[in-house]
């Protein structure tokens, strides 16, 4: 202390006490230091005084001093050396608790200097006669590896760990496995995330740990399977995690693993159960024996159902995983829909997940119960949940054709409640039903139109306007209805404006004689008074189309849209496969590959390269990953209708995967490929022709998505601007926008997480 500290204040007092000759006083002082630390005061100034108290027989006091060291070692790296001696001495203490404590703490000080002193006591502790010390030391290897991998290699700690897998004590085995797993994970991120270690030079290539740090061979497998049945719950989780990584030699081995893991379904720790599910899902891929597969999936159901009675947070993790499992194997819980009925007191996040799973499990057999239940939910107070319940009714209608009529009845009942948000949501949902079953339920249109005045949300309004436009020929007063929207055209939100515009144009094409006035009004309003470029551009295009050739206009505006359906999966098959292999991890909870949220949430080039271990499998996965990232980026860049990013990665990836070169694809290429989903192709053609001011030449087959992907790409390439530039022409395109509202809402609501906020946009 070069600078004399003030001789008063709390720290000064504490210093006096820490140096007191009475043990009690010193012990009290240490407690106060820790108390101060706990409430966030900086106590680093007391470092030398606290360290003096390290040598004590009082275990509690020792623990507190150690705790202090853990927190402040980094702030006083030069002074830590003072403590090293005591640490090393403690690692040879007769009490195993002290030995373990010392080695455990020393390994987390995380300073270069102490590390060098750590090596030899660690080797001793790894061979300690007491299992408690050994299990603690095992984890220390992972700690050291995290700081200085070359040290572990130099001292052969990793081999020692591998030997510990054969230890007689299950707890030691478990921690050895845990440590090796951690080391494995760390080593995957090593070359990029670790620059030259401070103080030392970069490790020579030979010392650099390789992928082969933790290879599981036959004998290890046997040991793991034995330990699985014996060790504590947390050890089991570690072992199950390792078994999931193991690549079985042949089918017999896979069967063996499945059979040995199956009893873990009976464990009461949810993470053990999910871990076992993961291992079995992975190894089941190699199993061909029908009866075994059957018995495995049959036995998987009850434990999954039981998870639904656990604490809400655990339930939620389980539900997210069940959602994934159902995408892969929809049959697992086919008869268990009732357990997913929402409880009145379930937290909202659980209810939403349950709702999603219920729709997944809906079938002709259980649809009546489900609809009754959904209707009950629609009368609850949580607006968000009510809306989702109404939405679920629509999803059921789209999923099960036989039940569509009953769904419509339920929706009409709900509309009768006149609760504003229920009505609005129901209208949106009915629009999807019309999209799926055109011309089936026209009878309800008058009832819908009766609610025209009550709609105040853009999405609901737009939906109803779309319905009116679509069935303009059947609605006598369509012109009048649409005219009401025209009166306040300028005040409406853009989606409503776009929809009004399109609907009136449709009306005009269907009933030209009586809507001449309206169409002129809308085109004028949209081109002159509107401040949205999208609306303006669309109006211009319509105007030109209409003024040149009505038949072309008809084929564009009134084109037949492809049918919608509820997607079986919410993620691309390749990603689903990866996520299934990650059951119970955060990736499986978020439904996103790990690489998209760890680190910076973006991929680096070398990251991608490292993944090319198993060329074929990895490659396809990689591309799927990129698509997801692209999807996310696209969301940020483009604020257009949500259906683009959600549908592109899930449905189109195959197309563009084929189109893209197998090697390293530039991000831009992927971006453009991702965007080259059908509507965009059409748009590109249209747009390029429109911009050339030659609308007459627009090919008649255009709406049928005849434009090839390569054309679309060519168009993209030609426009040097990149995504941002593309943005506005895209949204302005008539074709894509005509389609936009008719895209299945259902599909969007499934995309979850990050895309959620886009849903409201339409």
């Amino acid at each position: 202390m070069s600078l004399a500290p003030p001789r008063k204040g709390e720290n000064w007092e504490l210093r006096q006490q820490l140096n007191s000759e009475y043990r009690d006083k010193r012990a009290d002082a240490i407690k106060r230091v820790i108390a101060n630390h706990t409430i966030g005061k900086d106590c680093s100034g007391l470092f030398p005084d606290v360290v003096k108290n390290m040598q004590t027989d009082d275990l509690e006091q020792k623990k507190l001093v150690y705790l202090y060291l853990m927190n402040y070692a980094k702030t006083q790296p030069e002074l830590v050396i003072l403590a090293v001696n005591t640490f090393v001495k403690d690692t040879a203490d007769p009490n195993p608790l002290v030995r373990a404590l010392a080695i455990r703490t020393m390994a987390v000080l995380r300073t270069e200097k102490t590390l060098d002193y750590l090596a030899s006591p660690l080797s001793t502790c790894l061979k300690d006669e007491n299992p408690y010390v050994r299990k603690t030391a095992a984890l220390c290897v992972a700690k050291v590896f995290d700081l200085k991998p070359e040290l572990c290699i130099e001292y052969g700690f990793i081999e020692t760990l591998r030997d510990l897998i054969g230890d007689g004590n299950p707890m030691v085995v478990a921690n050895a496995v845990t440590a090796l797993g951690d080391i494995h994970e760390t080593s995957l991120t090593l070359p990029t995330s670790r620059p030259a270690s401070p103080g030392g030079s970069t490790p020579p290539p030979s010392a650099r740990p390789s992928q082969s740090l933790f290879i599981i061979d036959g004998p290890t497998l046997t040991k793991l399977l034995v330990a699985l049945g014996e060790c504590s719950e947390w050890g089991r989780i570690a072992i199950l995690g390792t078994l999931a990584r193991y690549k079985a030699q042949d089918e017999k081995e896979s069967e063996h693993i499945c059979e040995r893991v199956m009893p873990q379904f009976q464990h009461n720790n949810a993470a053990v159960v999910l871990g076992a599910v993961k291992v079995i899902m992975i190894h089941m891929k190699n199993v061909t024996r029908e009866d075994l597969i059957k018995s495995l999936t049959r036995k998987m159901a009850p434990p999954l159902v039981t998870l639904i009675s656990s604490a809400p947070e655990i339930q939620w993790v389980a539900l997210r995983n069940i959602n994934l499992l159902l995408q892969k194997r929809p049959d697992i819980l086919a008869n268990e829909m009732r357990v997913f009925f929402c409880k009145y007191n379930d937290p909202p996040y659980v209810k939403v997940e349950k709702l999603d799973i219920m729709v997944r499990l809906a079938s002709e057999k259980n649809v009546d119960t489900l609809l009754g239940e959904l209707r009950e939910y629609a009368s609850e107070v949580d607006v968000d949940f009510v809306r989702k319940a109404v939405r679920a009714v629509g999803q059921v209608a789209i999923k099960i054709e036989a039940a569509a009529e009953r769904c419509v009845t339920v929706l009409m009942d709900l509309i009768e409640t006149r609760v504003s948000y229920v009505v609005q949501e129901a209208v949106i949902v009915i629009k999807d039903i019309f999209r799926k079953y055109p011309h089936s339920y026209e009878g309800i249109i008058p009832a819908l139109c009766a609610n025209l005045d009550e709609l105040d949300e853009p999405e609901a309004k737009a939906s109803l306007i779309w319905i009116i436009g679509e069935y303009a020929e059947k609605i006598e007063n369509a012109a009048e209805l649409l005219g009401t929207f025209l009166d306040a055209f300028k005040e409406e939100s853009y989606p409503v404006q776009l929809q009004t515009l399109t609907a009136i144009v449709k009306l005009y094409l269907k009933k030209p004689e009586e809507s001449q006035v309206v169409v002129e009004r809308v085109l004028k309003a949209a081109t002159k008074d509107c401040d949205s470029a999208d609306v303006r551009d669309r109006a211009f295009i319509y105007w030109r189309l209409l003024s040149t050739d009505a038949s072309v206009a008809k084929s564009v505006v009134l084109s037949v849209r492809p049918p919608i359906s509820l997607p079986q999966t919410t993620v691309a098959p390749a990603i689903l496969e990866e996520l299934i292999g990650e059951i119970s991890s955060l990736a499986s909870v978020y439904h996103k590959p790990a690489a998209t949220f760890i680190g910076k949430g973006r991929f680096g080039a070398d990251e991608m390269q490292k993944r090319a271990i198993d060329p074929e499998e990895e490659l396809s996965r990689e591309k799927a990953l990129q698509t997801v990232v692209q999807g996310q980026q696209a969301e940020n860049l483009l604020d257009f209708d949500a259906d683009e990013p959600s549908s592109a990665p899930s449905n189109r990836d195959e197309d563009f995967l084929a189109a893209a070169a197998p090697g390293g694809i530039s991000q831009a290429a992927i971006a453009s490929a991702a965007k080259s989903s059908n509507p965009l192709d059409e748009l590109m053609d249209l747009f390029s022709s429109a911009s050339m001011a030659a609308p007459v030449s627009a090919p008649t087959g255009m709406p049928q998505a005849s434009a090839s992907a390569s054309n679309g790409l060519g168009g993209l390439g030609g426009m040097s601007g990149g995504l941002e530039d593309l943005m506005s022409p895209h949204s302005a395109s008539p074709v894509s926008n005509v389609q936009a509202p008719s895209k299945p809402q259902a599909q969007q609501s499934h995309t979850g997480g990050a895309e959620e906020d886009l849903l409201g946009l339409l």
């Binding site: 820790i34 603690t136 609850e380 955060l586 990736a587």
Partner: protein, 436 residues
């Protein structure tokens, strides 16, 4: 894997925290609550796990506290969330009540526990019985230094050696909780039985126990199906002391029990259950003045049995006031904090039914909010009875010293967390009960 574990108060301030890996800066803890509030503001669902800027936040709530774990990796979410719950229960066992106050008062011991329960972000020993053996409130002095109990690392990590009792006894409680949901038209649309076998074990040494139940699967495999009723448990979960492989093989439940109280197993049956306590209510609502309820309860079980401590929660509007009750049995109290009134009946005999009436005033200003459609919920206990018909056939206790031990068995059926009936009907549209 968790890099950091912290307990936060309701304002998001860290009460105590322990860093296990320094890849996540402690300052991230302060960002937790603002992130949650942001999400709430933007109407995004706040879920137990979320990720922001490369940091994963995993949390659970307990009373007014957040238990939070942070990580930078693709951690095992199930493991961490489960660990947080376990931490919660260990701390509760240590301090009776886990709240701000008890955390502040016991920070030293919590640090010790955090150190012992998790290492480098991986859960270690979380059995509170074992932890209590070597982490105690009193500090250890020279002569009596704590050592890690054998159990920490033993294959039998839940029981210490050298336990002695003068009288060796085991108490078995078979508790079945019934969850069910009855819809407005009176049909049971979902029901399940959650059973648990709880033990209080006062046995010396290292006893080997074997429990025999009337398990259908076992009966069938041993060809004894003919003898008596057997039950089919859909999913069974065991305490870690039970040998799972053995159960998988021949359905034998064999184990070395922990000392004292623990839950040996839990099971689930989704066989349809008839509502044991049936309740229906009719409401006559006069908006702006008053609301009247008529509630009927019926014990739908054998006449010999009795349901004890029956409590029926009937929801009422938030702004109801001046309650008046008249009940044929038991007592009624208004619980405004729950927006309900509670009808308590000490003993409800099988086959008996009772009526009660309630009258509330409503403010003349109409409540803008919609009526909450909360269901009626019921609490009860029926002793000496299990809905599933499960029976303990035997409990064999073998210890090498060869002592005789007495097993005691008790059965009880009670309501689960979710015993609810949506049988509140509008008096005008239905006529469930004639006036008293």
């Amino acid at each position: 894997m968790a890099s950091l574990v912290a307990i936060l108060d309701v304002k998001g301030k860290s009460l105590i925290q322990r860093s296990y890996k320094d890849d996540v800066p402690p300052s991230c803890i302060e960002r937790f609550l603002p992130l949650v509030l942001d999400m709430e503001e933007e109407n995004v669902q706040v879920t137990p796990c979320f990720s922001d800027d490369g940091i994963n936040y995993m949390h659970i709530r307990h009373n007014n506290l957040y238990l939070l774990a942070l990580s930078k990796r693709n951690s095992n979410a199930a493991e961490i969330i489960f660990f947080l719950h376990r931490l919660c229960s260990v701390l509760t066992e240590y301090f009776k009540e886990l709240e701000e106050e008890s955390i502040r008062d016991n920070f030293v011991i919590i640090y010790e526990l955090l150190d012992e329960m998790m290492d480098f972000g991986y859960p270690q020993t979380t059995e509170s019985k074992i932890l209590q053996e070597y982490i105690t409130q009193e500090s250890h002095k020279l002569e009596l230094q704590a050592r890690p109990p054998m159990a920490v690392t033993n294959a039998v990590s839940w029981r210490s050696e050298g336990i002695r009792y003068r009288k060796n006894e085991v108490f078995l409680d078979v508790v079945e909780s019934v969850n069910l949901l009855v819809n407005a038209s009176g049909n049971v649309i979902r029901s399940e039985i959650l059973g648990a076998v709880k033990m209080k074990c006062y046995l010396s040494g290292m006893p080997e126990l074997r429990l025999g139940l009337n398990d259908k699967v076992m009966f069938e495999s041993t060809g004894r199906a003919a003898r008596g009723k057997s039950i089919e448990m859909e999913d069974v979960k065991f305490h870690q002391c039970v040998r799972l492989a053995r159960f998988e093989n021949d359905r034998t439940i064999s184990f070395i029990p922990p000392d004292g109280e623990f839950e040996l197993m839990s099971y689930r049956l989704s066989t349809p259950v008839k509502p044991l306590v049936w309740v229906e209510a009719s409401v006559e609502s006069h908006r702006g003045s008053r609301v009247e309820y008529m509630v009927k309860v019926r014990g739908q079980f054998k006449r010999r049995s009795t349901a004890n401590n029956v409590e029926i929660y009937v929801p009422v509007p938030d702004d109801a006031d001046s309650p008046k009750f008249r009940a044929a049995a038991g007592s009624v109290v208004y619980a405004p904090e729950k927006s309900a009134f509670v009808w308590k009946i000490k003993q409800l005999g099988g086959g008996r039914d009772y009526l009660m009436r309630a009258h509330f005033g409503l403010p003349s200003v109409r409540n803008e909010e919609l009526d909450k459609r909360a269901p009626i919920s019921v609490k009860f206990e029926i002793p000496y009875f299990t809905v599933s018909g499960i029976q303990v056939r035997y409990l064999k206790i073998v210890e090498k010293s060869g002592y005789q031990a007495l097993p005691w068995v008790r059965y009880i059926t009670q309501n689960g967390d979710d015993y609810v009936l949506r049988t509140i009907s509008d008096a005008k549209s239905s006529s469930i009960i004639a006036p008293i």
